[in-house]
Point group: C2
Chain length 417, copies 2
Amino acid sequence: MTLHDTMQQLGKNARAAAKAMAKARTAQKNQALHSMADLLAIQQDNLLKENEKDLTAGRERGLNTALLDRLALNPERIHAMAEGLRQIANLADPVGEISHLRYQPSGIQVGKMRVPLGVIGIIYESRPNVTADAAGLGLKSGNAVILRGGSEAIHSNLAIAACIHTGLTDSGLPAEAVQVVKTTDRAAVGELLRMQAYIDVIVPRGGKGLIERVSAEAKIPVIKHLDGLCHVYIDAKADLDKAVAVAYNAKTQRYGTCNTMETLLVHQAIAPSVLPLLVDKYQQAGVELRGCAKTQAFDPKILPATEQDWATEYLAPILAIRVVDDFDQAMAHIDQYSSRHTDAIVTEDWSLAQRFLTEVDSSSVMVNASTRFADGFEYGLGAEIGISTDKIHARGPVGLEGLTSQKFIVLGNGHIR
Amino acid sequence: MTLHDTMQQLGKNARAAAKAMAKARTAQKNQALHSMADLLAIQQDNLLKENEKDLTAGRERGLNTALLDRLALNPERIHAMAEGLRQIANLADPVGEISHLRYQPSGIQVGKMRVPLGVIGIIYESRPNVTADAAGLGLKSGNAVILRGGSEAIHSNLAIAACIHTGLTDSGLPAEAVQVVKTTDRAAVGELLRMQAYIDVIVPRGGKGLIERVSAEAKIPVIKHLDGLCHVYIDAKADLDKAVAVAYNAKTQRYGTCNTMETLLVHQAIAPSVLPLLVDKYQQAGVELRGCAKTQAFDPKILPATEQDWATEYLAPILAIRVVDDFDQAMAHIDQYSSRHTDAIVTEDWSLAQRFLTEVDSSSVMVNASTRFADGFEYGLGAEIGISTDKIHARGPVGLEGLTSQKFIVLGNGHIR
């Protein structure tokens, strides 16, 4: 079979499995999730053995330490994967939820019923735990999923998939509800992106190169975010303690995540009181600071920020700082440079907080809270398949609900127009 | 200026206007809608004069009677347009609605705020009233719109647009919130479909040729439905009166609409009692019937239905009828041939009604009601920009809510992770 035929067959299998999954009972889906979690624990030694094959191949190919770390499984990580599946089992089933069922003047009742999207294609890179997470979320939301992980993790992914398949079939669900693309041929991604007859939505998870490729090539709707260039704006009326806490946490709690602050904006009236405190804390944490001229005046060690800095997602211990004249200048800066992922204001001014919430056009907008909260778990979604900065369908962290749609239902009693 | 530059400028204007529209107060938007409605009445003579130019040109070009009828304005139609705008003014403003605001274990409050999509491109054919409808819905939902109507209606559309612009500016809103593409060059549509930097969603309204072109070429999300191949299934346990009423109404109330029934499925057990009644009524109404062999047995005048008939959206007084063995065969038929627009069951059997509602994967699924109800007004949306058979974002009739999105808002008090 050619690659094209293999992938088409995968699509057909997924479409057939999606029909069964849409009808699957909640208890059946939960049983499958618990069974998968049990199997991951039972199969731990085998998972570690298969993962070692990937690690060995990775070392031979000269993967760097960070990539090898992402690729590595260990008992803790396997336990965390299993726990993740059990948590998904504990979430409410979104499928079949009926809302807004109201009588209309004609006498019919009209409402909305939540239904699965159908088939979800997930394209990701080295972390093998995504295989379990994505399978669990897809399954619980009543979809079939096609998983295409990084070629460097293929042995780990197939070993995890074996546990998933047993969990599915043990619970009376079709094994094809979760399919892992077995070939590591890169052309398989291109095939997936053109399978609009069999795939309803594509979720890419990984670096910018992957996301850009998927966005450019996909003939299917994509749930994605490209950049996480997040801002914190400390307003003139900010509480000093809150400002320091939020701005420090948003940068330093983790450097490599998409919801980490990359640019700090400070109102000129509060800059003399807040910046010396923050500059000191950042420098103690080893954060390289790059500022506008007004910012540099506070410390000779602050490097000059260029136009390029305002547009850069560092994903590293580097922070751009700009002192702004007023709220409007901060808003204009955010409007120009934000990647529309997450932006926050620190202020005690009620009217400005309201304006910020209303006018900032980002997937998450925050008042007096760290941008690091932009996350499916922190938002109470239970888990997330990814974060969307698109405006259509799902925006912000995407949980089970984002993997579903709503159809209209009409209940009559022989009603006609 | 080249066409490309003209269209890019339109996009830039729309993007700028969208920012102002997102902040516009509800009262301001409603005032603009009422002002537009007033102006349409005041400008009636001018609208009729401009419309006459289009009609004359259309007659010269040899447009058929149906097309000329769609193109024609008259005092009643102008009044209906104005009333449509006033009705939109009376609808609740969707923008800024905050929902699901809940405390999370970390102490932050997380909720969703409804926000405009931004810029909506609407591509439509001959009916000039779409200009007013689409402008009204776009405006009320806080978006900027770019309207590209049929070239045959250009004078009418520009005259309506003049009323819209005055309504906007009289209310302190930017005239660029509603822009009509002035050129009738068909290449302008291609330009619109590639303006992903300036347009957030495209809504095509018109014949299949238009929708197919837009779907194939658009680099922007599209809200659309391609076909309306709707089914009514009369189950063995159907109430005879309801079955006759619903099946007759679903076909004959209007022939040319997307929610008209095109295929009737009848359980073999009820066929002998229901089909003679229905066949008689359809024939009296002049509906040409094409049936399977079992259907033909009921009347010699019923033509044979071919495979092609099950797959055809007639949009005409023609109906395909199939007698099925059981519920499962009806479900399989719908699964194979439905365009996923609207399908209905007539039954008194509670369990089968539940199965039909749950398992039929269409944008509207109905029990004991005519498919003709699948409509934004009948569903209480107040108005509709179109109907979507896609699964992503909006499904079924799309009203104001479908022209909005939700962002997350996070309210803290200095909260950090």
